[in-house]
Symmetry: D2
């Protein structure tokens, strides 16, 4: 009886084939650009083949199933016993900074302290008592600006080790006819990720030298009062470091001192094409963090919406 | 030498105390409503105290540290050896549907098939070959509409077991003066989550009876061509089931048959207050999935932006 | 060609049905009591239904597959492409003290110190620098002695809250005609686990009151110079505590002060039957830890061998 | 009051310094060779630096803390509130076959079937319904025999790609004056692991060519009715395969057909030294599996006891 009612309803609403035999998104097809905004997604895939080598603790996401097609009920009696036709369920193990991500302000210490002077000892094995990522839960949406430095330089990708200067940033903004304003979420494209996408192999992305911003851009960002900065490389800043033995001097200036949120491993290829095509390098950037209580980072899939 | 240059830069850009001694978000304070849109965040916290009892496999997120303040270098020699002042890094183990989330179209089977007729056997321990959540990577942004059924009924929360009817949906929309359009991302508030928030205890949220939509609303949603539907309960639909022994008949109609993306455990309290205050129940909803390759669900933190 | 050679070899060595149609251990059947020692296994199952409620962080083991039968090659072409007929592979997420286990000497602190006076700060998010479980890698084998206090008392299980005294230990040893010697691995049966096994439900095992040793047995163990002590309850010692507000005073005496290794959640039912049957309460106990570098506990499956 | 009683007891039983200022095993020192058997431990460390490259899904163990020294109570008020002086607790994520391990009889399929003819489809994302490792829970103890083929050949390690023949096994046994009997747990030393231990770098252990048994030793093992075979390489058998395109032909003969339990990545260096020193190549081998319900493998730390 229930079965018949259910089958009748199911067939009544069935949309199989409505968007072709290969469709995999169903009613999301109803969202059309006419009706609403279109978006460029800036998050890389979460999968075993990814940018982490495991060398410095971080590994690529490990995704696995609780239940799959092999566990589905196969007879009417099983369907009844299991209260349905079955389904699938999955889970994941991942570093919070293994893919496209925001660093929280608890991620880097300077002389034993975090941003705003909090003691580094407040970060224990149970997480951080201050500057955790969930504090930014509803805050990471705003005017986004892309500075495509590689394109302005006329190259597919800046050379590994190239330190982007204040002059580069100003010149790129001028060439792209976009201004950087207070409160902006600034995206800087070095082209570095293109190398790995071109070769279809992420290996060594976290270890190789890389173009990135110079530590000397920190005062420029401070003066412009930007809200956050993100890039298409592993660590925003240039590698190798300009100030050895410090591995990440820009991180030290920006996170614990300036309180500047950094975004890393941003996929900017499609957005860069789109901006070049229409000449508009500003947009609405929506990049919600997962509100991990006491967390120090978060995976994200930001949307750039025009 | 490097140390002095770094310290000079660090102090030059330091913002400690700029937003008060208790600030934890730094330069994100530069994002002000005047400059950009404000957002209501719809994601619940990711933490050990959460809605999962573990009874049906899903557990609450387990968050842990690779490195914390106890691992930070303590002497200048350690700072040099470790190439910096140290920092923290964390990781997480979690079911992809343990918090605020989207179900993919591979999540529920009907008679051995998924949406669009794909064989359930395509979901194996390595994930799903069809209808995976990453197919929706850039697609979940659009016009959002909130139907606050509990408020329209004049109650804090609908009773557990109450099945929301087509009449309820139409009447709520009329009372709130909002229309439901093709391509909408529809949010339905039952008030059920308020119970657990009020008692500050998530326990049994996944097990208790719950208000939710009737299976008979499926044709209404089909006719209106909505893109997705989400709610503030565990499973969108009413519990106990209207069609026993099937535990989740609405899921069966919507996911494998209609190809309708479902959102669950949405935190709608602040958004409901905001909509009641300004009388505007439509907004831009941005709810990017994490693009998990072969994944069947994703945790999210959607933003409702006005 | 390879395929034919392989099939010929495979069929030549095939043992299907040799030990009946229901056999699942194959050539391990060749190990017979005549040839070698028989063993009682003291480890409980690693599965989702287990003794951990999740209340104090620990959860039951989460076991999952990388590859399963659904991923196996199905055609000759797939067999060739995947270099074989396929197989299965699995992994686990588990607290190191969630099942039958040894505590390391880094598990409990006393006034900021571990066993032998090491600073508790040596245990950071990357594990412990001192007293880690891998230091005991080859050491946990020796004369085992079972004191079945419940049986001596003539009960199926001691009452929750019952504190086993020095007198109980001495009287049980005398009744069982076994002496406790220097270097022994001492097993104490309270019968508490029987309750949960009888009801086939582990729930609340970690939360309920429990019989267990009195804190005042610590000097007795110290004087006898035993090597380790283990029991069939959650924490060896009685609950509730005899010295509130301290939750685990025997732990404090034994682990950081005495340096006594504790074993918990030991399955002693079969061993107790065996000892009662033959009147021999001493045996070879082999309980190898997993040598987790910097670890503070380990799951085990000890063997008692006569 | 409780505090004073506890302190008095604690100091009474304190063993700090008893075995020197560097001791980390406490009362396990009471287990002396005079009192009991000594053991060689055959398990490798569980740590991030290990034999898994991640290339074929398996990764090295990821060990992490719930609680550490940074979380310990620091004031008397905190000690009271937390009901003790605190401690540490840890957990692990690991493939069940990532370190020294047993394969279960569900690990490899042949033409869609497992050992004893069970259907490979019985292994789903929730584990295996047949031939799971917990079926061997109390069975893996018996007469162990080491055949140190590398030593017999007079080399530190056999060359990668060298296939150990039946002749090699017989000659080694004869030279070592040990016979292989029905029910034996046979350990074969290739010396391959020595290479990685010598260079203190596990990398590529799972990928490199390796010495190992020839597929043509399977009938020899079958005839001798051994119970299990283990080796100090990654997969017992030689790599590259003698029967391409099949990657692991010996696995196919032994696991699904013969029902022979295989042990891999055994640390045999100390045991080989010990056997060479006393000329005794037979011993008691105790290698308890973790009884993972529905599991297809298990990490182990076997003890060879003389």
């Amino acid at each position: 009886m229930s079965e018949e009612i259910l089958r009748k309803l199911a067939l009544q609403v069935r949309n199989w084939g409505r968007w072709g035999p290969d469709d995999e998104i169903g009613t999301l097809n109803f969202i059309t650009p006419e009706a609403i905004a279109s978006a460029c997604a800036l998050g890389i895939p979460l999968q075993r083949e990814g940018p982490q080598s495991g060398t410095r603790q971080r590994f690529n996401p490990i995704h696995t199933m609780f239940r799959d097609g092999g566990d589905a009920p196969k007879t009417p009696a099983e369907v009844t016993a299991l209260q349905g036709y079955g389904g699938s369920d999955d889970w994941i193990v991942m570093p919070l900074q293994c893919v496209t991500q925001w660093d929280s302000l608890a991620h880097v210490f300077y002389e034993g302290q975090m941003y705003n002077g909090y003691d580094a000892a407040l970060v224990t094995s149970s997480g951080t008592a201050k500057n955790s990522i969930d504090k930014t839960k509803s805050r990471i949406v705003g005017r986004g600006v892309l500075l495509d430095v590689a394109r302005w330089k006329g190259v597919r990708a800046l050379e590994p080790g190239y330190a982007i200067t204040v002059g580069d940033l100003d010149a790129t903004a001028a060439a792209q006819r976009v201004d950087v304003r207070r409160g902006d979420l600034l995206l800087i494209r070095t082209g570095h990720m293109s190398r790995y996408l071109d070769r279809k192999d992420w290996r060594h992305f976290d270890l190789d030298d890389s173009p990135g911003v110079s530590v000397h851009t920190a005062p420029w960002m401070h003066a412009r009062e930007i809200a956050a900065v993100a890039s298409d490389n592993y660590a925003v800043e240039v590698r190798p470091s300009e100030l050895p033995p410090f591995r990440s001097p820009f991180h030290i200036c920006s996170i614990p001192n300036m309180g500047l949120t950094l975004g890393e491993i941003f996929y900017l290829e499609e957005l860069a094409e789109d901006c070049a095509a229409d000449g508009r390098y500003a947009f609405l950037l929506v990049a919600p963090p997962l509100p991990v209580t006491r967390g120090v980072g978060t995976p994200i899939n930001p949307y750039a919406i025009k």
